[in-house]
């Protein structure tokens, strides 16, 4: 009995051949890990974890609508993401407003998604995949879409990096220094929307947080150096996705539990290590006059 479950969870028969088949998926996973790890640090700094979840649900609605009417699912999920990101960005400037806007949008998006999927008569695996992720062999078209979108996100972040850090830490001082704080916010939301849309393709709508929040949160437990946080966050995210794909390969189970478990384990480890660091550092400093 337990042996059966184990066989379902981990099956490494013909592993070498499978590995060749999912080469594209592995590359896609690594790219997603890179994007998720980098944007995750800003998600944490701007306190947008809940927004990521909200965007993911509307992205899911967009993807299932696309599935239903038979157009490109990736485009549907992208459209849903961008719409959600812009609504959240426009209506929720302050954190409290934002959370209520997200709380209202999220069930609506999920409801729409369920409706579209219920109407859809195609393969059930397609439906399930949108929510929980899949590692169907990524074809060249998907691959170029995914890499292209990821490149846009990474380039966009590179351009706005310094003012975005400034505005996230201290919007008033940043504005006084001439940073266009009000324009940066929607720009970031669109980049976030794009990241959510690409992540959904692999880990699914329910578990985007494991890619866009957990790795950065884990890294921030270990260090406050901005460079190290970004590098660690990327390392954790890439490890989670690529590791998840490698473990899920032979099994019939969706990829997401593997990804989320690795990412959660990394977070736990960082909390344990980081916990002792925080108490050690929290001692009061003797004031130098």
């Amino acid at each position: 009995m337990t042996g059966d479950i184990w066989q379902q969870l981990f099956n490494f028969d013909n592993y070498g051949e499978l590995l060749v088949l999912v080469r594209n998926s592995l590359i896609a996973g690594a790219v997603l890990g890179l994007v998720g790890g980098v944007i995750g640090t800003f998600v944490m700094m701007r306190d947008l974890a809940f927004a990521v979840h909200g965007i993911a649900e509307l992205s899911f609605a967009g993807a299932s609508a696309a599935l239903l009417i038979g157009v490109n699912v990736a485009a549907g999920s992208l459209a849903g993401s961008i719409v959600a990101a812009l609504i959240i960005g426009a209506l929720g400037v302050r954190a409290r407003d934002r959370n209520s806007v997200i709380g209202v949008l999220m069930p609506f998006g999920l409801g729409l998604g369920v409706l579209f999927l219920a109407l859809y008569k195609g393969r059930a695996a397609n439906k399930f995949g949108l929510l929980t992720g899949q590692i169907v062999a990524v074809d060249t078209v998907q691959m170029s879409w995914l890499v292209g979108t990821s490149a846009v996100v990474l380039l966009g972040l590179a351009v706005v990096w310094r003012p975005l850090v400034f505005a996230s830490l201290d919007p008033e001082v940043a504005a006084a220094r001439g940073v266009p704080v009000r324009i940066l916010s929607p720009i970031f939301m669109v980049l976030l929307g794009l990241s959510v849309a690409v992540s959904i393709q692999v880990v699914g709508a329910l578990l985007v947080l494991a890619l866009l929040v957990t790795p950065a949160a884990a890294a921030m437990r270990l260090t406050a150096s901005p460079v190290r946080v970004t590098l660690l966050s990327v390392l954790f995210a890439v490890t989670s996705v690529v590791g998840g794909i490698l473990l899920a390969l032979g099994s019939s189970i969706p990829i997401s539990p593997y990804v989320t478990t690795i990412s959660f384990a990394l977070y736990l480890g960082c909390r344990v290590i980081g916990g002792s660091r925080a108490t050690r550092r929290a001692r009061p400093v003797t004031e130098s006059q």
Binding site: R162, A174, S288
Partner: protein, 264 residues
């Protein structure tokens, strides 16, 4: 009184109104290099809006403003801005020196790849923050954070320091330290200081002049001229009694003698 030969701020006939609510009008003032002016007044009297006007974030509804002879410009390196203390979110991935660095290049597009270590080190030293410059921001006290914010504001070597209640929620000791840093800078670099505060006592000895805003009117002059029972009673339109006790002002709105709130 020193004659101001070199004017840094010049306001004439300045008015700021929101709709038909006038915050202040007919404001004429000139501030010279190295002058320290305290801006006082009750909540909603337009103290912060006064700073926003100087920062170029808010337009005057009438009159003119010149800073170093030119109209105000958003993000001008002539201005250094010190905000009121706000705690930093836990786990913020920045250290003390990263906050200071934002004052140097945080407004520029692109990645933070240049090496600014030397400039940052100088600023760290200028505010005596060497002991905690490498610590995570989230683990610093209010007083430590405010020191770093002073250093951040000094990054462009500004001619004018705009301080928006920087002592709020600091304990007495740190109020003195932070106000002292601002005052030292003004002495050593002839920097003009506009210091918005609801509590004049920590800076009473530093202020050359006081701009007191209330009830859509204002008083501008030396502390001795403005902070009197007669002057403030006229401003508020009701009797206000100002007492001098051991070099501190008691009784005037804006001089609550409670010794400051404990640090958050």
């Amino acid at each position: 009184m020193t004659v101001t030969t070199d004017t840094v701020i010049s306001l004439s006939g300045a008015e700021l109104a929101f709709g038909d609510r006038i915050l202040w009008q007919g404001l004429d003032l000139e501030l010279g290099r190295g002058e320290f002016v305290a801006v006082l007044g009750p909540n909603g009297s337009g103290k912060t809006s006064f700073l926003r006007v100087l920062l170029g974030q808010q337009r005057l509804t009438a009159g003119t403003l010149l800073i170093e002879g030119r109209p105000p410009r958003r993000g001008s390196p002539l201005l250094g801005y010190i905000p009121q203390h706000r705690a930093v979110a836990p786990q913020t991935p920045l250290r003390g020196r990263d906050l200071i660095r934002l004052g140097l290049d945080g407004h520029r597009w692109g990645l933070p790849i240049g090496n600014l270590r030397r400039q940052v080190d100088e600023l760290v030293e200028a505010v005596g923050a060497t002991a905690f410059a490498d610590r995570p921001l989230a683990l610093l006290s209010g007083g430590e954070l405010q020191r770093l914010r002073v250093a951040q504001a000094l990054a462009t070597d500004p001619a004018l320091l705009l301080c928006d209640e920087p002592l709020l929620s600091l304990d007495l000791h740190h109020q003195k330290v932070v106000a002292g840093l601002v005052n030292d800078r003004r002495r050593s670099h002839d920097t003009t200081v506009v210091f918005v505060t609801h509590e004049i006592n920590p800076i009473l000895e530093m202020a050359d002049r006081v701009l007191y805003l209330a009830e859509g009117r204002f008083r501008f002059g030396t502390p001795a001229e403005v902070m009197t029972s007669a002057s403030l009673s006229g401003l508020y339109g009701s009797p206000v009694e100002v007492l001098h006790v051991n070099g501190r002002l008691v009784g005037a709105p804006g001089s609550h003698d409670h010794g400051g709130e404990p640090s958050a």
